[in-house]
């Protein structure tokens, strides 16, 4: 069964450093998302991406964050200058139809645990 993959599974970085989290969504999906989950808290939406552009972003997704689909398979989340409070589990997700008519489920990757020291 097709699945969303994410690398690395765990990333440790120093405060102020740049990190890039990578995701390979399911191949026939068109809508891509990043969520994060701080330990013990709820899963929070960061950004949605369709047709090579951001379709929606949350207040969390400030200028330090960016997303890119550099080729036909990868979807990346970059944090330019990490802060201690960026420590969280970051999940990539994808689906076929987005939020319009005929919306269906999102498929989540296993996550990247980001630890900022």
């Amino acid at each position: 069964e097709p699945e969303v993959t994410q690398t690395p599974s765990h990333q440790v970085t120093q405060m102020g450093q740049e990190v890039i989290l990578r995701c390979v969504p399911i191949s026939n999906h068109l809508y891509f998302y990043w969520y994060r989950q701080i330990l013990g808290q709820k899963v929070e939406f960061l950004v949605s991406f369709y047709n090579n552009e951001i379709s929606e972003k949350s207040e969390i997704f400030d200028d330090q964050f960016s997303v890119e689909r550099p080729d036909g398979s990868n979807f990346t989340l970059k944090i330019r200058s990490t802060k201690l409070e960026d420590s969280a589990m970051y999940f990539c997700a994808s689906d076929q139809k987005g939020g319009g008519v005929g919306y269906n489920e999102q498929f989540f990757g296993p996550g990247t645990r980001l630890t900022v020291l």
Partner: protein, 112 residues
Amino acid sequence: SQKIEQNSEALNIQEGKTATLTCNYTNYSPAYLQWYRQDPGRGPVFLLLIRENEKEKRKERLKVTFDTTLKQSLFHITASQPADSATYLCALTSGNTGKLIFGQGTTLQVKP
């Protein structure tokens, strides 16, 4: 303000019983409501989706109801098994971008 609330206390039940989890929301008009399962250290896994014009949806031992008047969804697991032990997340879809808004989840523990 907009809120999604799930009973935050862990739910402990005996194997074979029916587990019922609650999701309440305020100041949303979701077109869809979904339930996901999350195991420790893993990503959410989709279970069921119910649309605003549907009252009930079933899949094997799972049943979801959706009451847009009460602004509530109930999630039932019948004949529960220890393998059903996990955190269950309620999620709303709002808008056209596919964004999911999650509740904080309810942890279910099924004892043999």
